[in-house]
Amino acid sequence: MANRIKRGVSLYSFQNETFQGKMTLEDCIRTCAEMNANGIEVIGEQSFWGLPEYAVDPAEIENWHALIKKYNCVPVSHDYMLDYKRYKGREMPLDEQIASVKKDIDFGVALGVKYLRSLVSIAPEVLVGAAPYAEEKGIMLLTEVHAPLHFDHPWIIRLAEAFQKSGSKALGFLPDMGMFLHAYPPVWRAKFERLGVPKHIADYIVKAYEDRILSEYVILNVQQMGGVGPAIAMAEVMRHNAAFEPKRMLGYMPMIHNIHGKFYQMDADYVEPSIPYEEIVRVLQQGGYDGYICSEYEGNRWIEDAEEPDSVEQVRRQQVMLARLIGEPTPHALAA
């Protein structure tokens, strides 16, 4: 089948294990290869020590390439951060921000990726300013469209206009599927209940989310139900998350080159209960998308207070789901 979507993993998914030294870079890459998810995305500052304050040990870069080769994987993206609040009390000047992005472009080249992920808060003038250097180096800078932002938000429209006006082919988007949050994630609810939110309030918030009630009304109603502290917080996350429509990506397809397959929980039946992946993959196929969807497991932070996350199993389940939705035969290695 032409235009088949490719599967990858952001090593962000394994943060709970790598933070504690329970998985090495090799464990991560081997794990992805075993799932036939051969696209590898990294947050440079997570997978490599030093960047950007001091030099990454060249041996670490050599090791990366040796592992990519050993497990027959493909470097997809380096997600850079650009700390423009590096100086206390003043924002980093524009020229310095552009210079910083160029350093990350060099690092991306060193890793052999085609894409760099730009955080959504990075200003269009920084990206447009760095674009010629990116083009020269064969790199694309992809702004991550992430909740609470979405494709109809004025900030994203401003970015898209600036990208188009620049005429540069090095600028585009990387949507995070978390912006299509169609149901209140059960792991969020469970965490808030552990923090003391009464069941009737949790029930109300989950139902209000399903009914698409404006977050501000929900917060007021929770206050009037006697909700305090964690109950208010449970409602307030609705300010930053919403059920935007996957079909909105269709207006941007030529600018979309990588996808964050965000998920909070994959159930044993291979379903993400809060993010509509069937619809998402259908839309992407309709739009002719043939890049990677990189798993991005973010349930870890919602359950770590109660249990040790099993990130590998969570990613495996999502990869089974993606393989099925994309139309691949289920690889033997993915079978439970």
Binding site: E45, W49, E53, Y54, K85, L119, N300, R301
Partner: protein
């Protein structure tokens, strides 16, 4: 995030200079999914058995370099890496008595893309060997 993994349990000891205990030390990790340049660590707060250590009496040490918190605010060539165990030193004359102590450790960090300044803390009971 990583709240309950901030305080490491592998080191907890008095800091001795010229035969005198001048404070205590433990290993701490940044509660974040990446590392952070030291200038963006706004504050590190340590309490022992409910007693707060003054900001000026805290030292942060990674890979052989030790800083006060005020010094860190203008350090642009070093960072607290992802998962890296930093040595957190609290100056306290006489150090701590052997036995169990409740340590509270909080980090406030300036993260460019966040519309708030997060403080994350961990509390653990650590045993100081005699």
């Amino acid at each position: 995030m990583m709240d309950n993994k901030m305080i490491c349990t592998d080191v907890f000891e008095n800091v001795v200079e010229n035969g005198t205990a001048v404070g205590f030390a433990f290993l701490g990790r940044l509660p974040y999914y990446r590392g952070l340049g030291l200038s963006m660590i706004e504050d590190i707060a340590v309490s022992v058995d409910g007693e707060k250590i003054a900001r000026d009496d805290i030292r942060f040490s990674v890979r052989g370099k030790t800083y006060t918190l005020d010094e860190m605010e203008t350090v642009y060539d070093n960072r607290w890496n992802f998962g890296e165990k930093a040595r957190i030193i609290a100056l306290k004359a006489g150090g701590l008595a052997p036995g169990n102590h409740k340590i509270e450790f909080a980090v406030r960090m300036r993260v460019s893309y966040l519309p708030f300044v997060p403080t994350t803390k961990d509390t653990k009971e650590l045993a100081l060997a005699a």
